[in-house]
Symmetry: C2
Amino acid sequence: VSKSELELIAWLKRRQSPAPSHVELSIGDDMASVRLGAARVLITSDLLLDGVHFVVGEHTPEQIGRKAMACSVSDCAAMAVRPVAATASVALPDKVDMAFAQRLVEGMNAVADAYDCPLVGGDTTSWPSGLVVDVAMLGEPWPGCEPVRRDGAKPGDAIYVTGPLGGSRLGHHIDFSPRVAEAHRLVTELRERLHAMLDISDGLSLDLWRICEASGCGAELDEALLDDVVSEAARALSARDGRSVLDHVLNDGEDFELLFAVDPEEPAPPIGVRVGTMVTSGLTLTGRDGTSRPIEAKGFQHFT
Amino acid sequence: VSKSELELIAWLKRRQSPAPSHVELSIGDDMASVRLGAARVLITSDLLLDGVHFVVGEHTPEQIGRKAMACSVSDCAAMAVRPVAATASVALPDKVDMAFAQRLVEGMNAVADAYDCPLVGGDTTSWPSGLVVDVAMLGEPWPGCEPVRRDGAKPGDAIYVTGPLGGSRLGHHIDFSPRVAEAHRLVTELRERLHAMLDISDGLSLDLWRICEASGCGAELDEALLDDVVSEAARALSARDGRSVLDHVLNDGEDFELLFAVDPEEPAPPIGVRVGTMVTSGLTLTGRDGTSRPIEAKGFQHFT
Protein backbone atom coordinates (compact mmCIF):
# COMPACT_ATOMS: atom_id res chain seq x y z
CA VAL A 1 0.00 0.00 0.00
CA SER A 2 1.11 3.50 -0.77
CA LYS A 3 -0.04 6.65 0.97
CA SER A 4 -2.27 7.43 -2.00
CA GLU A 5 -3.94 4.02 -1.77
CA LEU A 6 -4.77 4.66 1.90
CA GLU A 7 -6.08 8.10 0.94
CA LEU A 8 -8.21 6.60 -1.80
CA ILE A 9 -9.79 4.11 0.61
CA ALA A 10 -10.47 6.90 3.12
CA TRP A 11 -12.10 8.93 0.35
CA LEU A 12 -14.15 5.91 -0.74
CA LYS A 13 -15.52 5.49 2.76
CA ARG A 14 -16.47 9.17 2.94
CA ARG A 15 -17.89 9.19 -0.60
CA GLN A 16 -20.23 6.23 -0.09
CA SER A 17 -23.91 6.79 -0.47
CA PRO A 18 -25.92 5.65 2.56
CA ALA A 19 -25.87 1.88 2.28
CA PRO A 20 -29.15 0.21 1.31
CA SER A 21 -30.63 -1.76 4.20
CA HIS A 22 -29.48 -5.09 2.75
CA VAL A 23 -25.81 -4.05 3.10
CA GLU A 24 -24.67 -4.89 6.65
CA LEU A 25 -21.01 -4.10 6.22
CA SER A 26 -19.49 -2.12 3.36
CA ILE A 27 -16.04 -0.79 2.36
CA GLY A 28 -13.39 -0.95 5.06
CA ASP A 29 -13.25 -4.50 6.41
CA ASP A 30 -11.77 -7.72 5.02
CA MET A 31 -15.10 -8.63 3.45
CA ALA A 32 -18.42 -6.89 2.86
CA SER A 33 -21.60 -8.47 4.18
CA VAL A 34 -24.95 -8.48 2.40
CA ARG A 35 -28.31 -9.88 3.52
CA LEU A 36 -30.34 -11.99 1.06
CA GLY A 37 -33.63 -12.76 2.73
CA ALA A 38 -32.76 -14.76 5.83
CA ALA A 39 -29.26 -15.57 4.56
CA ARG A 40 -26.16 -13.51 4.76
CA VAL A 41 -23.34 -13.60 2.25
CA LEU A 42 -19.89 -12.10 2.56
CA ILE A 43 -17.76 -11.07 -0.41
CA THR A 44 -14.15 -10.05 -1.01
CA SER A 45 -11.95 -9.54 -4.04
CA ASP A 46 -8.15 -9.58 -4.19
CA LEU A 47 -6.09 -8.37 -7.11
CA LEU A 48 -2.64 -9.87 -7.69
CA LEU A 49 -0.23 -8.29 -10.16
CA ASP A 50 2.96 -9.47 -11.82
CA GLY A 51 5.92 -7.66 -10.29
CA VAL A 52 3.97 -6.63 -7.21
CA HIS A 53 2.52 -9.77 -5.61
CA PHE A 54 4.44 -12.39 -7.63
CA VAL A 55 6.96 -12.54 -10.44
CA VAL A 56 6.27 -14.64 -13.54
CA GLY A 57 9.42 -16.66 -14.24
CA GLU A 58 10.50 -16.62 -10.61
CA HIS A 59 7.29 -18.19 -9.29
CA THR A 60 5.59 -21.09 -11.03
CA PRO A 61 2.06 -20.69 -12.44
CA GLU A 62 0.86 -23.18 -9.81
CA GLN A 63 2.34 -21.04 -7.03
CA ILE A 64 0.75 -17.90 -8.44
CA GLY A 65 -2.64 -19.63 -8.73
CA ARG A 66 -2.38 -20.94 -5.18
CA LYS A 67 -1.48 -17.53 -3.80
CA ALA A 68 -4.32 -15.81 -5.65
CA MET A 69 -6.88 -18.17 -4.17
CA ALA A 70 -5.23 -18.29 -0.73
CA CYS A 71 -5.31 -14.49 -0.33
CA SER A 72 -9.09 -14.49 -0.63
CA VAL A 73 -9.46 -17.58 1.58
CA SER A 74 -7.41 -15.66 4.14
CA ASP A 75 -10.00 -12.85 4.02
CA CYS A 76 -12.62 -15.45 4.98
CA ALA A 77 -10.38 -16.49 7.89
CA ALA A 78 -10.03 -12.82 8.88
CA MET A 79 -13.84 -12.53 9.19
CA ALA A 80 -14.14 -16.01 10.75
CA VAL A 81 -16.51 -17.18 8.01
CA ARG A 82 -16.63 -20.28 5.82
CA PRO A 83 -15.33 -19.93 2.23
CA VAL A 84 -18.14 -20.96 -0.13
CA ALA A 85 -17.20 -20.31 -3.77
CA ALA A 86 -14.90 -18.16 -5.90
CA THR A 87 -14.57 -16.60 -9.33
CA ALA A 88 -11.25 -15.79 -11.00
CA SER A 89 -10.55 -13.06 -13.53
CA VAL A 90 -7.27 -13.52 -15.36
CA ALA A 91 -5.44 -11.25 -17.81
CA LEU A 92 -2.96 -13.49 -19.60
CA PRO A 93 0.16 -12.02 -21.20
CA ASP A 94 0.11 -12.69 -24.97
CA LYS A 95 3.38 -14.55 -24.66
CA VAL A 96 2.19 -17.30 -22.30
CA ASP A 97 0.72 -20.50 -23.67
CA MET A 98 -2.29 -22.61 -22.85
CA ALA A 99 -0.22 -24.84 -20.55
CA PHE A 100 0.65 -21.80 -18.42
CA ALA A 101 -3.03 -20.92 -18.02
CA GLN A 102 -3.90 -24.50 -17.14
CA ARG A 103 -1.14 -24.70 -14.51
CA LEU A 104 -2.37 -21.43 -13.02
CA VAL A 105 -5.85 -22.92 -12.71
CA GLU A 106 -4.46 -26.14 -11.22
CA GLY A 107 -2.85 -24.00 -8.51
CA MET A 108 -6.16 -22.26 -7.83
CA ASN A 109 -8.01 -25.58 -7.76
CA ALA A 110 -5.54 -27.07 -5.26
CA VAL A 111 -6.46 -24.38 -2.74
CA ALA A 112 -10.14 -24.45 -3.75
CA ASP A 113 -10.25 -28.19 -3.05
CA ALA A 114 -8.38 -27.88 0.25
CA TYR A 115 -10.86 -25.31 1.56
CA ASP A 116 -13.96 -26.75 -0.12
CA CYS A 117 -14.40 -23.48 -1.99
CA PRO A 118 -14.89 -24.31 -5.68
CA LEU A 119 -13.98 -22.03 -8.55
CA VAL A 120 -17.38 -21.46 -10.15
CA GLY A 121 -16.72 -18.83 -12.80
CA GLY A 122 -14.64 -15.95 -13.99
CA ASP A 123 -13.28 -14.14 -16.98
CA THR A 124 -10.15 -14.43 -19.08
CA THR A 125 -8.58 -12.13 -21.66
CA SER A 126 -5.18 -11.97 -23.31
CA TRP A 127 -3.27 -8.72 -23.47
CA PRO A 128 0.25 -7.56 -24.28
CA SER A 129 1.06 -6.72 -20.65
CA GLY A 130 1.67 -8.48 -17.32
CA LEU A 131 -0.25 -11.31 -15.69
CA VAL A 132 -3.20 -10.15 -13.56
CA VAL A 133 -5.22 -12.49 -11.35
CA ASP A 134 -8.24 -11.30 -9.40
CA VAL A 135 -10.16 -13.71 -7.19
CA ALA A 136 -13.58 -12.78 -5.82
CA MET A 137 -14.83 -15.04 -3.05
CA LEU A 138 -18.08 -15.65 -1.23
CA GLY A 139 -18.25 -16.67 2.41
CA GLU A 140 -21.01 -17.45 4.86
CA PRO A 141 -21.07 -17.36 8.65
CA TRP A 142 -20.27 -20.62 10.41
CA PRO A 143 -23.51 -21.98 11.89
CA GLY A 144 -24.39 -19.99 15.01
CA CYS A 145 -21.38 -17.67 14.67
CA GLU A 146 -21.24 -13.98 13.83
CA PRO A 147 -18.62 -12.70 11.36
CA VAL A 148 -15.81 -10.95 13.23
CA ARG A 149 -15.19 -7.37 12.16
CA ARG A 150 -12.21 -5.12 12.80
CA ASP A 151 -14.14 -2.37 14.57
CA GLY A 152 -15.02 -4.04 17.89
CA ALA A 153 -11.75 -3.86 19.85
CA LYS A 154 -11.91 -2.22 23.30
CA PRO A 155 -9.24 -0.73 25.59
CA GLY A 156 -7.98 -3.51 27.83
CA ASP A 157 -8.38 -6.24 25.19
CA ALA A 158 -5.48 -8.62 24.79
CA ILE A 159 -3.87 -8.63 21.33
CA TYR A 160 -2.86 -11.96 19.80
CA VAL A 161 -1.39 -13.32 16.59
CA THR A 162 -1.67 -16.89 15.32
CA GLY A 163 1.93 -17.40 14.15
CA PRO A 164 5.38 -16.06 13.36
CA LEU A 165 5.82 -12.74 11.58
CA GLY A 166 8.30 -11.08 9.26
CA GLY A 167 10.47 -12.02 6.32
CA SER A 168 7.55 -13.35 4.29
CA ARG A 169 9.25 -12.27 1.07
CA LEU A 170 11.75 -15.09 1.52
CA GLY A 171 9.01 -17.54 0.52
CA HIS A 172 6.12 -17.61 2.98
CA HIS A 173 4.20 -14.98 0.96
CA ILE A 174 3.81 -17.39 -1.97
CA ASP A 175 3.15 -20.53 0.04
CA PHE A 176 1.05 -20.00 3.16
CA SER A 177 -1.95 -21.69 4.73
CA PRO A 178 -4.91 -19.40 5.38
CA ARG A 179 -6.03 -19.70 9.01
CA VAL A 180 -9.62 -20.77 8.34
CA ALA A 181 -9.70 -23.60 10.86
CA GLU A 182 -7.99 -21.42 13.48
CA ALA A 183 -10.52 -18.63 12.96
CA HIS A 184 -13.39 -21.09 13.20
CA ARG A 185 -12.03 -22.45 16.46
CA LEU A 186 -11.51 -18.95 17.88
CA VAL A 187 -15.01 -17.75 17.07
CA THR A 188 -16.58 -21.01 18.27
CA GLU A 189 -14.77 -20.99 21.61
CA LEU A 190 -14.55 -17.25 22.29
CA ARG A 191 -17.89 -16.15 20.78
CA GLU A 192 -18.57 -12.48 21.54
CA ARG A 193 -15.33 -12.24 23.54
CA LEU A 194 -13.54 -12.15 20.15
CA HIS A 195 -13.87 -8.40 19.60
CA ALA A 196 -11.92 -7.73 16.40
CA MET A 197 -9.85 -9.67 13.88
CA LEU A 198 -8.09 -9.38 10.52
CA ASP A 199 -5.37 -11.19 8.61
CA ILE A 200 -1.97 -9.51 8.49
CA SER A 201 -1.49 -8.67 4.85
CA ASP A 202 0.32 -5.33 5.03
CA GLY A 203 2.38 -5.83 8.20
CA LEU A 204 1.64 -5.91 11.93
CA SER A 205 2.07 -2.15 12.49
CA LEU A 206 -0.27 -1.06 9.67
CA ASP A 207 -2.85 -3.78 10.24
CA LEU A 208 -2.95 -3.16 13.99
CA TRP A 209 -3.39 0.55 13.22
CA ARG A 210 -6.38 -0.45 11.08
CA ILE A 211 -8.02 -2.22 14.03
CA CYS A 212 -7.29 0.86 16.20
CA GLU A 213 -8.71 3.28 13.64
CA ALA A 214 -11.85 1.19 13.03
CA SER A 215 -12.43 0.58 16.74
CA GLY A 216 -11.62 4.11 17.91
CA CYS A 217 -8.88 3.11 20.31
CA GLY A 218 -5.12 2.56 20.52
CA ALA A 219 -2.72 -0.34 21.01
CA GLU A 220 0.45 -1.06 22.91
CA LEU A 221 2.74 -3.82 21.66
CA ASP A 222 5.23 -5.46 24.02
CA GLU A 223 8.74 -5.97 22.62
CA ALA A 224 9.43 -8.93 24.94
CA LEU A 225 6.23 -10.67 23.83
CA LEU A 226 7.08 -10.05 20.19
CA ASP A 227 10.19 -12.23 20.69
CA ASP A 228 7.86 -15.21 20.62
CA VAL A 229 6.51 -14.42 17.15
CA VAL A 230 9.75 -13.76 15.29
CA SER A 231 9.89 -15.97 12.20
CA GLU A 232 13.08 -17.69 11.09
CA ALA A 233 12.75 -15.70 7.89
CA ALA A 234 12.70 -12.40 9.78
CA ARG A 235 16.04 -13.33 11.40
CA ALA A 236 17.52 -14.48 8.11
CA LEU A 237 16.41 -11.34 6.29
CA SER A 238 17.70 -9.11 9.10
CA ALA A 239 21.12 -10.75 8.92
CA ARG A 240 21.11 -10.12 5.21
CA ASP A 241 19.77 -6.57 4.93
CA GLY A 242 20.81 -4.97 8.22
CA ARG A 243 17.26 -3.95 9.17
CA SER A 244 16.46 -5.04 12.73
CA VAL A 245 14.52 -8.22 13.37
CA LEU A 246 11.91 -6.07 15.13
CA ASP A 247 11.54 -3.90 12.04
CA HIS A 248 10.81 -7.00 9.97
CA VAL A 249 8.29 -8.31 12.50
CA LEU A 250 6.49 -4.96 12.66
CA ASN A 251 6.59 -3.85 9.06
CA ASP A 252 6.92 -6.76 6.64
CA GLY A 253 3.70 -7.78 4.97
CA GLU A 254 1.97 -10.88 3.67
CA ASP A 255 2.31 -12.91 6.87
CA PHE A 256 -1.36 -13.93 6.54
CA GLU A 257 -1.53 -14.76 10.24
CA LEU A 258 -4.59 -13.65 12.17
CA LEU A 259 -4.33 -10.58 14.41
CA PHE A 260 -7.12 -10.40 16.98
CA ALA A 261 -8.27 -8.46 20.02
CA VAL A 262 -9.97 -10.48 22.72
CA ASP A 263 -11.61 -9.80 26.06
CA PRO A 264 -8.76 -10.18 28.61
CA GLU A 265 -10.75 -12.32 31.11
CA GLU A 266 -10.03 -16.02 31.54
CA PRO A 267 -9.97 -18.38 29.77
CA ALA A 268 -7.32 -17.24 27.34
CA PRO A 269 -7.82 -17.99 23.63
CA PRO A 270 -7.20 -21.64 22.71
CA ILE A 271 -4.57 -20.63 20.14
CA GLY A 272 -2.35 -17.64 19.44
CA VAL A 273 0.50 -15.76 21.06
CA ARG A 274 -0.13 -12.59 23.01
CA VAL A 275 1.77 -9.56 21.74
CA GLY A 276 0.14 -6.56 23.42
CA THR A 277 -2.89 -4.77 24.80
CA MET A 278 -5.50 -2.42 23.35
CA VAL A 279 -5.45 1.02 25.01
CA THR A 280 -7.46 4.20 24.64
CA SER A 281 -5.25 5.87 22.03
CA GLY A 282 -1.92 5.85 20.23
CA LEU A 283 0.15 3.06 18.74
CA THR A 284 3.19 2.31 20.88
CA LEU A 285 5.81 -0.31 21.63
CA THR A 286 6.87 -0.99 25.21
CA GLY A 287 10.57 -1.91 25.25
CA ARG A 288 12.32 -4.40 27.52
CA ASP A 289 13.31 -1.51 29.80
CA GLY A 290 9.67 -0.58 30.30
CA THR A 291 9.82 2.62 28.27
CA SER A 292 7.22 3.21 25.62
CA ARG A 293 7.79 4.68 22.17
CA PRO A 294 5.46 5.40 19.28
CA ILE A 295 5.33 3.04 16.31
CA GLU A 296 4.83 4.31 12.81
CA ALA A 297 2.21 2.32 10.89
CA LYS A 298 4.36 1.71 7.85
CA GLY A 299 2.67 0.77 4.63
CA PHE A 300 3.89 -2.47 3.22
CA GLN A 301 5.12 -2.06 -0.36
CA HIS A 302 4.44 -5.70 -1.12
CA PHE A 303 7.30 -7.97 -1.74
CA THR A 304 9.03 -6.52 -4.77
CA VAL B 1 -12.16 -13.82 -27.38
CA SER B 2 -9.43 -15.74 -29.09
CA LYS B 3 -9.50 -19.40 -30.00
CA SER B 4 -7.22 -20.15 -27.07
CA GLU B 5 -9.61 -18.43 -24.65
CA LEU B 6 -12.48 -20.60 -25.91
CA GLU B 7 -10.22 -23.66 -25.56
CA LEU B 8 -9.31 -22.65 -22.03
CA ILE B 9 -12.95 -22.33 -21.02
CA ALA B 10 -13.73 -25.73 -22.58
CA TRP B 11 -10.80 -27.23 -20.65
CA LEU B 12 -12.01 -25.56 -17.43
CA LYS B 13 -15.44 -27.14 -17.82
CA ARG B 14 -13.90 -30.58 -18.38
CA ARG B 15 -11.35 -30.12 -15.58
CA GLN B 16 -13.89 -29.20 -12.90
CA SER B 17 -14.20 -31.45 -9.89
CA PRO B 18 -17.76 -32.61 -9.28
CA ALA B 19 -19.46 -29.52 -7.89
CA PRO B 20 -20.38 -29.59 -4.20
CA SER B 21 -24.11 -29.79 -3.66
CA HIS B 22 -24.38 -26.08 -2.79
CA VAL B 23 -23.20 -25.11 -6.31
CA GLU B 24 -26.25 -25.06 -8.59
CA LEU B 25 -24.58 -23.63 -11.67
CA SER B 26 -20.84 -23.43 -12.25
CA ILE B 27 -18.48 -22.34 -15.05
CA GLY B 28 -20.10 -21.76 -18.44
CA ASP B 29 -23.01 -19.36 -17.96
CA ASP B 30 -23.17 -15.60 -17.44
CA MET B 31 -23.20 -16.08 -13.66
CA ALA B 32 -22.64 -18.96 -11.29
CA SER B 33 -25.33 -19.81 -8.74
CA VAL B 34 -24.72 -20.96 -5.18
CA ARG B 35 -27.20 -21.98 -2.47
CA LEU B 36 -26.78 -20.56 1.04
CA GLY B 37 -29.38 -22.25 3.21
CA ALA B 38 -32.73 -21.26 1.74
CA ALA B 39 -31.24 -18.39 -0.25
CA ARG B 40 -29.55 -18.45 -3.58
CA VAL B 41 -26.85 -16.05 -4.68
CA LEU B 42 -25.46 -15.54 -8.17
CA ILE B 43 -21.98 -14.24 -8.87
CA THR B 44 -20.06 -12.95 -11.88
CA SER B 45 -16.77 -11.18 -12.45
CA ASP B 46 -15.72 -9.11 -15.46
CA LEU B 47 -12.19 -8.00 -16.20
CA LEU B 48 -11.63 -4.83 -18.23
CA LEU B 49 -8.19 -3.98 -19.58
CA ASP B 50 -6.65 -0.83 -21.01
CA GLY B 51 -6.21 -1.21 -24.76
CA VAL B 52 -8.68 -4.10 -24.95
CA HIS B 53 -11.98 -2.92 -23.46
CA PHE B 54 -11.24 0.80 -23.18
CA VAL B 55 -8.36 3.18 -23.89
CA VAL B 56 -7.09 5.52 -21.18
CA GLY B 57 -6.78 8.97 -22.74
CA GLU B 58 -9.46 8.26 -25.32
CA HIS B 59 -12.15 7.38 -22.78
CA THR B 60 -12.67 9.37 -19.59
CA PRO B 61 -12.19 7.71 -16.19
CA GLU B 62 -15.94 8.13 -15.58
CA GLN B 63 -16.72 6.28 -18.83
CA ILE B 64 -14.34 3.47 -17.92
CA GLY B 65 -15.85 3.16 -14.44
CA ARG B 66 -19.37 3.11 -15.86
CA LYS B 67 -18.49 0.44 -18.41
CA ALA B 68 -16.79 -1.75 -15.79
CA MET B 69 -19.87 -1.73 -13.58
CA ALA B 70 -22.33 -1.96 -16.50
CA CYS B 71 -20.70 -5.12 -17.91
CA SER B 72 -21.41 -6.99 -14.67
CA VAL B 73 -24.90 -5.50 -14.36
CA SER B 74 -25.49 -6.80 -17.89
CA ASP B 75 -24.58 -10.32 -16.67
CA CYS B 76 -27.37 -9.96 -14.08
CA ALA B 77 -29.71 -8.98 -16.91
CA ALA B 78 -28.54 -12.01 -18.91
CA MET B 79 -29.60 -14.32 -16.05
CA ALA B 80 -32.75 -12.28 -15.34
CA VAL B 81 -31.72 -11.65 -11.74
CA ARG B 82 -31.58 -8.54 -9.57
CA PRO B 83 -28.14 -6.92 -9.07
CA VAL B 84 -27.43 -6.77 -5.32
CA ALA B 85 -23.88 -5.56 -4.60
CA ALA B 86 -20.46 -5.32 -6.22
CA THR B 87 -16.77 -5.20 -5.43
CA ALA B 88 -14.16 -3.55 -7.65
CA SER B 89 -10.49 -4.46 -7.97
CA VAL B 90 -8.41 -1.78 -9.64
CA ALA B 91 -4.78 -1.77 -10.76
CA LEU B 92 -3.85 1.89 -11.20
CA PRO B 93 -1.00 2.90 -13.50
CA ASP B 94 1.72 4.68 -11.47
CA LYS B 95 1.32 7.71 -13.69
CA VAL B 96 -2.33 8.48 -12.87
CA ASP B 97 -3.24 10.70 -9.94
CA MET B 98 -5.77 10.50 -7.13
CA ALA B 99 -8.30 12.52 -9.14
CA PHE B 100 -8.24 9.88 -11.89
CA ALA B 101 -9.03 7.13 -9.36
CA GLN B 102 -11.83 9.19 -7.84
CA ARG B 103 -13.38 9.89 -11.25
CA LEU B 104 -13.20 6.18 -12.05
CA VAL B 105 -15.11 5.42 -8.84
CA GLU B 106 -17.65 8.17 -9.59
CA GLY B 107 -18.34 6.41 -12.89
CA MET B 108 -18.84 3.10 -11.10
CA ASN B 109 -21.06 4.70 -8.49
CA ALA B 110 -23.27 6.31 -11.14
CA VAL B 111 -24.16 2.85 -12.49
CA ALA B 112 -24.27 1.35 -8.99
CA ASP B 113 -26.83 4.00 -7.96
CA ALA B 114 -28.90 3.60 -11.13
CA TYR B 115 -29.25 -0.15 -10.58
CA ASP B 116 -29.42 -0.05 -6.76
CA CYS B 117 -26.30 -2.21 -6.65
CA PRO B 118 -23.83 -0.57 -4.25
CA LEU B 119 -20.07 -0.92 -4.42
CA VAL B 120 -19.31 -2.59 -1.09
CA GLY B 121 -15.62 -3.39 -1.31
CA GLY B 122 -12.63 -4.18 -3.44
CA ASP B 123 -8.92 -3.86 -3.76
CA THR B 124 -6.58 -1.29 -5.24
CA THR B 125 -2.87 -1.40 -6.10
CA SER B 126 -0.59 0.80 -8.15
CA TRP B 127 1.71 -0.69 -10.75
CA PRO B 128 3.85 0.50 -13.66
CA SER B 129 1.53 -0.98 -16.29
CA GLY B 130 -1.97 -0.41 -17.73
CA LEU B 131 -5.25 0.24 -15.97
CA VAL B 132 -7.12 -2.90 -14.95
CA VAL B 133 -10.64 -2.87 -13.53
CA ASP B 134 -12.37 -6.04 -12.38
CA VAL B 135 -15.91 -5.91 -11.02
CA ALA B 136 -17.38 -8.88 -9.18
CA MET B 137 -21.15 -8.70 -8.70
CA LEU B 138 -23.77 -10.54 -6.67
CA GLY B 139 -27.31 -11.06 -7.87
CA GLU B 140 -30.40 -12.71 -6.49
CA PRO B 141 -33.45 -14.11 -8.25
CA TRP B 142 -36.39 -11.73 -8.61
CA PRO B 143 -39.11 -12.86 -6.18
CA GLY B 144 -40.84 -15.93 -7.58
CA CYS B 145 -38.63 -16.07 -10.69
CA GLU B 146 -35.98 -18.60 -11.65
CA PRO B 147 -32.66 -17.41 -13.09
CA VAL B 148 -32.57 -17.95 -16.86
CA ARG B 149 -29.68 -20.07 -18.08
CA ARG B 150 -28.31 -20.50 -21.57
CA ASP B 151 -28.82 -24.25 -21.78
CA GLY B 152 -32.62 -24.53 -22.02
CA ALA B 153 -33.31 -23.65 -25.68
CA LYS B 154 -35.34 -26.19 -27.71
CA PRO B 155 -35.78 -26.75 -31.47
CA GLY B 156 -38.73 -24.66 -32.59
CA ASP B 157 -38.09 -21.84 -30.10
CA ALA B 158 -38.28 -18.33 -31.48
CA ILE B 159 -35.05 -16.30 -31.19
CA TYR B 160 -35.28 -12.65 -30.16
CA VAL B 161 -32.99 -9.74 -29.40
CA THR B 162 -33.87 -6.63 -27.36
CA GLY B 163 -32.27 -3.99 -29.58
CA PRO B 164 -30.08 -2.96 -32.50
CA LEU B 165 -26.81 -4.74 -33.16
CA GLY B 166 -23.41 -3.97 -34.69
CA GLY B 167 -20.94 -1.11 -34.78
CA SER B 168 -20.70 -0.89 -31.00
CA ARG B 169 -17.10 0.24 -31.23
CA LEU B 170 -18.30 3.61 -32.53
CA GLY B 171 -19.43 4.44 -29.00
CA HIS B 172 -22.18 2.15 -27.74
CA HIS B 173 -19.66 -0.22 -26.12
CA ILE B 174 -18.61 2.46 -23.62
CA ASP B 175 -22.06 3.90 -22.96
CA PHE B 176 -24.85 1.33 -22.87
CA SER B 177 -27.76 0.56 -20.59
CA PRO B 178 -27.83 -3.00 -19.24
CA ARG B 179 -31.23 -4.58 -19.89
CA VAL B 180 -32.12 -5.38 -16.29
CA ALA B 181 -35.70 -4.06 -16.43
CA GLU B 182 -36.28 -5.76 -19.80
CA ALA B 183 -35.03 -9.09 -18.45
CA HIS B 184 -37.21 -8.72 -15.37
CA ARG B 185 -40.25 -8.06 -17.54
CA LEU B 186 -39.47 -11.01 -19.82
CA VAL B 187 -39.05 -13.51 -16.97
CA THR B 188 -42.12 -12.18 -15.16
CA GLU B 189 -44.40 -12.40 -18.20
CA LEU B 190 -42.96 -15.43 -19.96
CA ARG B 191 -41.97 -17.52 -16.90
CA GLU B 192 -40.85 -21.00 -17.94
CA ARG B 193 -41.58 -20.19 -21.60
CA LEU B 194 -38.31 -18.17 -21.52
CA HIS B 195 -36.00 -21.10 -22.27
CA ALA B 196 -32.55 -19.53 -22.62
CA MET B 197 -30.96 -16.08 -22.48
CA LEU B 198 -27.63 -14.25 -22.44
CA ASP B 199 -26.33 -10.77 -23.16
CA ILE B 200 -24.52 -10.27 -26.46
CA SER B 201 -20.98 -9.45 -25.45
CA ASP B 202 -18.96 -11.18 -28.16
CA GLY B 203 -21.30 -10.81 -31.14
CA LEU B 204 -24.57 -12.39 -32.25
CA SER B 205 -22.98 -15.31 -34.13
CA LEU B 206 -20.69 -16.42 -31.29
CA ASP B 207 -23.20 -15.83 -28.51
CA LEU B 208 -25.97 -17.63 -30.39
CA TRP B 209 -23.53 -20.51 -30.94
CA ARG B 210 -23.03 -20.55 -27.15
CA ILE B 211 -26.78 -21.02 -26.59
CA CYS B 212 -26.78 -23.78 -29.23
CA GLU B 213 -23.79 -25.55 -27.70
CA ALA B 214 -25.13 -25.33 -24.13
CA SER B 215 -28.63 -26.42 -25.19
CA GLY B 216 -27.57 -29.16 -27.60
CA CYS B 217 -29.37 -27.76 -30.62
CA GLY B 218 -28.89 -25.45 -33.60
CA ALA B 219 -30.19 -22.11 -34.81
CA GLU B 220 -31.34 -20.52 -38.04
CA LEU B 221 -31.18 -16.74 -38.39
CA ASP B 222 -33.35 -14.97 -40.95
CA GLU B 223 -31.62 -12.27 -43.02
CA ALA B 224 -34.87 -10.39 -43.64
CA LEU B 225 -35.66 -10.30 -39.92
CA LEU B 226 -32.13 -9.10 -39.12
CA ASP B 227 -32.91 -5.94 -41.16
CA ASP B 228 -34.97 -4.80 -38.19
CA VAL B 229 -32.06 -4.94 -35.75
CA VAL B 230 -29.38 -3.16 -37.76
CA SER B 231 -27.95 -0.30 -35.70
CA GLU B 232 -27.13 3.09 -37.20
CA ALA B 233 -23.58 2.43 -36.13
CA ALA B 234 -23.43 -0.83 -38.10
CA ARG B 235 -24.40 1.08 -41.26
CA ALA B 236 -21.93 3.87 -40.54
CA LEU B 237 -19.12 1.45 -39.86
CA SER B 238 -19.94 -0.58 -42.97
CA ALA B 239 -19.80 2.55 -45.13
CA ARG B 240 -16.42 3.30 -43.63
CA ASP B 241 -14.68 -0.08 -43.61
CA GLY B 242 -16.31 -1.90 -46.54
CA ARG B 243 -17.43 -4.88 -44.44
CA SER B 244 -21.10 -5.64 -45.05
CA VAL B 245 -23.75 -4.38 -42.67
CA LEU B 246 -24.73 -8.01 -42.09
CA ASP B 247 -21.16 -8.87 -41.09
CA HIS B 248 -21.25 -6.10 -38.47
CA VAL B 249 -24.63 -7.25 -37.13
CA LEU B 250 -23.48 -10.86 -36.87
CA ASN B 251 -19.93 -10.46 -35.66
CA ASP B 252 -19.38 -7.19 -33.81
CA GLY B 253 -19.34 -7.49 -30.06
CA GLU B 254 -20.30 -5.51 -26.97
CA ASP B 255 -23.88 -4.83 -28.04
CA PHE B 256 -25.05 -5.84 -24.54
CA GLU B 257 -28.54 -6.52 -25.84
CA LEU B 258 -30.32 -9.65 -24.61
CA LEU B 259 -30.50 -12.67 -26.92
CA PHE B 260 -33.20 -15.13 -25.91
CA ALA B 261 -34.97 -18.28 -27.02
CA VAL B 262 -38.66 -18.50 -26.21
CA ASP B 263 -41.44 -21.03 -26.66
CA PRO B 264 -43.03 -20.12 -30.03
CA GLU B 265 -46.66 -20.31 -28.83
CA GLU B 266 -48.76 -17.18 -28.37
CA PRO B 267 -48.53 -14.68 -26.79
CA ALA B 268 -45.28 -13.38 -28.22
CA PRO B 269 -42.74 -11.79 -25.83
CA PRO B 270 -43.74 -8.29 -24.64
CA ILE B 271 -40.45 -6.87 -25.95
CA GLY B 272 -37.79 -7.82 -28.47
CA VAL B 273 -37.43 -8.35 -32.19
CA ARG B 274 -37.55 -11.82 -33.66
CA VAL B 275 -34.46 -12.78 -35.67
CA GLY B 276 -34.71 -16.55 -36.15
CA THR B 277 -35.64 -20.00 -34.91
CA MET B 278 -33.89 -22.70 -32.91
CA VAL B 279 -33.47 -25.94 -34.90
CA THR B 280 -32.00 -29.34 -34.16
CA SER B 281 -28.44 -28.62 -35.32
CA GLY B 282 -26.16 -26.27 -37.21
CA LEU B 283 -25.88 -22.51 -37.25
CA THR B 284 -27.26 -21.04 -40.48
CA LEU B 285 -28.59 -17.89 -42.08
CA THR B 286 -31.61 -18.03 -44.37
CA GLY B 287 -31.22 -15.42 -47.11
CA ARG B 288 -33.93 -13.30 -48.72
CA ASP B 289 -34.07 -15.84 -51.58
CA GLY B 290 -34.89 -18.62 -49.16
CA THR B 291 -31.53 -20.37 -49.43
CA SER B 292 -29.69 -21.29 -46.29
CA ARG B 293 -25.96 -20.96 -45.66
CA PRO B 294 -23.80 -21.75 -42.65
CA ILE B 295 -22.61 -18.95 -40.36
CA GLU B 296 -19.23 -19.04 -38.75
CA ALA B 297 -19.31 -18.18 -35.05
CA LYS B 298 -16.61 -15.57 -35.18
CA GLY B 299 -14.91 -14.59 -31.96
CA PHE B 300 -15.12 -10.92 -31.25
CA GLN B 301 -11.66 -9.41 -30.72
CA HIS B 302 -13.10 -6.64 -28.53
CA PHE B 303 -13.05 -3.18 -29.81
CA THR B 304 -9.38 -2.41 -30.30
